[in-house]
């Protein structure tokens, strides 16, 4: 069966649009038909933007006819509901923002619009991006297109599922501790977290400001490069965005990796890693070796502390970032409040879900008088050591290879009652956020049950090009047959 329009890649559609084989309106129509057919079961979206998308597709067709098409013109793209969209409800998966209509666009959204992309909707996510399963959203659970009884990963589960299920061509997610890479792995798509500061965070609703980064979900490495090209770059509205030139990431696609050194950290071969996942990783390393690359053993000695460091720093920052949801300026206000203090307590207690409250509590505690040094300061110091581990490691190798997640997708409800177990599912992804380095998850095969598994590649700061190059090499030489979820 030939791939339908909705199952194509950006570069395939670009070619078809260029040749006039298809119109942007037809592509958009195909995507919305698909959403109609499957989203009732998957629930990738919180808000579907059918009318504005149709209008946008018509404008894209005009631009193409006028010869003014850019790389994203007419491409249907979904955006995680954590990025502000002017005049379009932006909930962050929370009740507290149920009726929030931003008066401005996030920088990445503005860039997508300016590039002619067709924004199809806002995708579901763990509330305020706090979760690894998209089960904590106020707007319901998103299901894994490969097995509707399983989670799609999180927190960007809606964006990953939408790409996997053909409900869009590509999407944007955000990654604070693995929230792009882990769902990409569990849904069998490509997902990249760029270097901290590579993509503007302006308009990205903050979870943990020093860790958050926006990145693409796509069907292959080339699309990842195309979308990254469109969203990256310095933004004067984000003090942490880095004023450096960005290369054309597409130029890395298809280049060979002969002579590259791939580092395998010995600390990552931990207990709890699924043997099937470990096996698929070994298979991929075999592919890399067959392409003339070399496997080297490396050490990241502070790996075991990553989760603890992360679960101090991220909640601490979040406890402060989420203080603005107080029922004064926007968002939910409890109807039962009799005075100011009650307005705060009830609005916040009714507006936030359990996981968000749990993290606000941890973070508030970690910053409170008498505990700052023991928790926040200590964690920030260990963070420095983790960053140094990577600097050391990248002297010995070009790219680090690990599994993206210890297991394939788990069952809905399997880990909801044990927060710590849930946190440990981010064990391979968190370190990249702490060190600010880029990481990509690219499909590396399927488990016996037919669930997709991803391989994580990590590179030094601003080396996204290497990740694209390695992922595209793996993709083109994969030993497994690419499947599509049966829906």
């Amino acid at each position: 069966m030939a791939a339908g329009l909705h199952e194509s890649t950006i570069h395939e559609l670009q070619e078809k649009l260029r040749r006039g084989d298809v119109t942007a309106s037809e592509i958009t129509e195909a995507v919305f038909s698909r959403i109609e057919a499957v989203d009732g079961r998957i629930k990738s979206f919180i808000t579907i933007m059918r009318d504005s998308a149709a209008a946008c597709a018509r404008r894209a067709d005009e631009a193409i006819r006028a010869g003014k098409a850019g790389p994203l013109t007419g491409i249907p793209i979904a955006v995680k509901d954590i990025m502000c969209t002017k005049g379009v409800r932006t909930t962050c998966g929370s009740r507290i923002l149920e009726n929030f209509f931003p008066p401005y666009d996030a920088t990445v959204v503005r860039k997508l619009k300016e590039g002619g992309a067709v924004i199809v909707g806002k995708t579901n996510m763990d509330e305020f991006a706090m979760g690894s399963s998209t089960e904590t959203s106020f707007y319901g659970i998103t299901r894994n297109p490969w097995d509707l009884g399983r989670i799609p990963g999180g927190s960007s589960g809606g964006s990953a599922a939408a790409v996997a299920a053909g409900e869009c061509i590509a999407s944007l997610g955000s990654d604070t501790g693995g929230s792009i890479r882990q769902p990409a792995s569990l849904c069998g798509v490509v997902g990249m977290k760029p270097t901290y500061g590579r993509v503007s965070r302006y308009g990205l609703i903050a979870f943990a400001s020093s860790l958050d980064q926006i990145g693409p979900f796509t069907r292959d490495a080339e699309d990842c490069a195309i979308l990254l090209n469109a969203i990256c770059g310095y933004d004067p509205l984000d003090s942490t965005s880095v004023p450096v030139e960005t290369p054309d990431y597409r130029s890395f696609v298809g280049k060979d990796i002969k002579g590259w050194k791939f580092g395998v950290p010995r600390e990552y071969l931990i207990e709890g890693i699924d043997p099937e996942v470990a096996g698929l990783m070994e298979e991929s390393i075999g592919v890399l070796e067959s392409l003339g690359a070399e496997r080297v053993d490396i050490s990241l000695p502070h790996t075991e502390y990553c989760v603890a460091v992360y679960y101090v720093i991220a909640p601490a920052e979040a406890s402060s970032n989420l203080a603005r949801y107080d029922g004064v300026k926007y968002g939910y206000r409890s109807p039962d409040a009799r005075d100011l203090i009650e307005m705060y307590r009830k609005s916040r207690s009714e507006g936030f879900g359990a996981e968000v409250k749990r993290r606000i509590m941890i973070g508030t505690y970690a910053l409170s008088s008498g505990y700052y040094d023991a928790y926040y300061k200590k964690a920030s110091q260990v963070r420095t050591l983790i960053k140094r581990d990577f600097e050391e490691a990248f002297r010995k190798c070009d790219v680090i290879v690990t599994p993206t997640a210890p297991t394939a997708a788990f069952r809905i409800g399997e880990k909801t009652d044990d927060p710590l177990q849930m946190y440990l599912s981010d064990i391979f992804t968190i370190s990249a956020n702490l060190a600010g380095i880029p990481g990509i998850s690219t499909p590396c095969g399927y488990t016996g049950k037919g669930l997709p598994v991803g391989l994580q590649l990590l590179a030094g700061h601003f080396q996204e090009g290497k990740l694209i190059q390695a992922a595209s090499a793996l993709e083109r030489n994969a030993k497994f047959e690419k499947r599509r979820p049966a829906l």
Binding site: N99, F100, F101, P103, Y196, G197, S210, P236, S239, T240, V242, H302, E304, Y305, V307, A308, Y311, V312, S319, A323, G327, V328, K329, Y330, G331, R333, R338, L340, I341, E342, M343, Y344, R345, K346, R348, S349, F352, K357, R358, M361, I362, T364, Y365, S368, K378, S380, Q381, V382, R383, T384, L385, K387, P419, L420, Y423, L434, A435, G436, I437, H461
Partner: protein, 95 residues
């Protein structure tokens, strides 16, 4: 136990959150197991290590002192749960 119920109540008050008795019990035990896990950080020797806020070293991100166009007041208060006369309305603040 690192965290007593009283401390949970203090932290909740600081964070402007409130919990039922049952939730407090559950949170106290969950937070304690998370904090126990974090104890491992004490094993790391961090003497002389500079705490990092960012992984990327940047300095001096500035804007020029130029006035831009503000929102119209109607736009500014559009999302307000309660408003009156272009102001956000809140329960009376006692001073």
């Amino acid at each position: 136990m690192k965290l007593t119920k009283a401390e949970v109540e203090y932290v909740a008050a600081l964070a402007r959150l409130e919990f039922s008795e049952e939730e407090k019990e559950k949170f106290t035990s969950q937070l304690n197991s998370i904090l126990d896990y974090m104890d491992m950080l004490n094993r790391v020797d961090t003497s002389g290590v500079v705490p990092e806020t960012h992984a990327i070293t940047l300095r001096n991100a500035f804007r020029d002192d130029v006035v831009w166009k503000s929102l119209e007041p109607e736009e500014a208060i559009k999302n307000a749960p309660e408003e009156r006369g272009s102001c956000f309305r809140v329960p009376r603040v006692i001073e």
